[in-house]
């Protein structure tokens, strides 16, 4: 029944999640547990007691950060200019250290999401918000209509995933490439004869 969770234990839990976020941003979602423990200044044992498996840890990280993503998106969406908002958000997301988010939010979903309805819901909400923004930009004619939120999200994942998974020059300047992509997504940027398949009805 109601027994005490020692204060220091709770504190460690926090340190672990943060450490996990950092390490996973640098080395990918499947960074060695030991590396995470070390970064958190904690023994592997402790880590394992809190999170039975990597899964739990990933969900925890995602859950911990989904808010940050949502906030950033809201903040960017505030203005009336949808296109500018998208650009602002993408730029923000590409900042170094932010990778963990994209990672946690994308690389695991399939299994992890199933394990945490809570997390799944939040993520879905975020995607929905992003989608609304995209549609807004397309509606006001600033963004070409044949690209989707998914495109944006995927691309975001590609360019902000941990270094070592991308050729160095790309990994070190994700914003440059992300902006290039955005330029290609502006209304009118489409090359006539051979446009990417439009909003896929599948």
């Amino acid at each position: 029944m109601g027994w005490h969770v020692r204060a220091d234990a709770r504190r460690n839990l926090g340190k672990i999640v943060e450490a996990a976020a950092e390490v996973m941003a640098e080395r990918g979602v499947d960074a060695p547990m030991e590396a995470i423990a070390k970064r958190a200044g904690v023994g592997v044992g402790t880590l394992y007691r809190r999170f039975p498996d990597r899964h739990a840890l990933v969900v925890a990280v995602g859950d911990h950060y989904i808010h940050t993503m949502a906030d950033a998106l809201d903040r960017a969406s505030a203005g009336a200019d949808a296109w500018a908002a998208i650009r602002e958000f993408v730029t923000w997301a590409a900042e170094p250290g932010r990778a963990a988010l994209a990672t946690a939010l994308a690389e695991v979903p399939q299994e992890a999401i199933a394990g945490s309805a809570e997390f799944a819901r939040k993520r879905a909400g975020w995607v929905e918000g992003f989608d609304a923004l995209v549609r807004r930009a397309q509606a006001d004619g600033s963004m070409r209509a044949d690209v989707t939120v998914e495109d944006l999200i995927h691309l975001l994942n590609v360019f902000t995933c941990h270094p070592g998974r991308l050729p160095e020059p790309v990994a070190s300047r994700p914003v440059r490439y992300l902006h290039l992509m955005l330029d290609g997504m502006k209304a009118g940027a489409a090359t006539p004869g051979a446009a990417p398949s439009p909003r896929d009805p599948s």
Copy 2:
């Protein structure tokens, strides 16, 4: 002194290089040697006798394909329209199965290139040709001036690297994303206030 290299041995060599190209396209340059051997219908031992280490194998593959790349580039460059040529070449390069080339030509260079002056020279020649094309497109005003061949090459590598290194939706339609990128590279696509750093003098 002059002894015979058995015909079947030479044949196997060929099979190995081709198998290596295939497997490396699917699993990356560091695909397990055994997988390559199996694909080639040969024992690991045989593979090791021909190529002391993965290095040699990679160089062999690169060497085997650099021609294909060069040819495709020449073919595309033939017409007068430089921009169209770039688009054509990129499209060609993104076709499934072509990944090995980019991979072999990019993921290893550092060490491998040093090991094969021959290969290094060919590769350099190819890059030079590609660069000429890019400059031509920029000169005739069809391509923005603040992007470089390197950008193109890197992006080509990113989008055509083996599946499993990219989020599935991206891996399965590299052309779509490459074209998006090209659209962003067209003259006039640049977003005023915040252009990517121009040809870096570094």
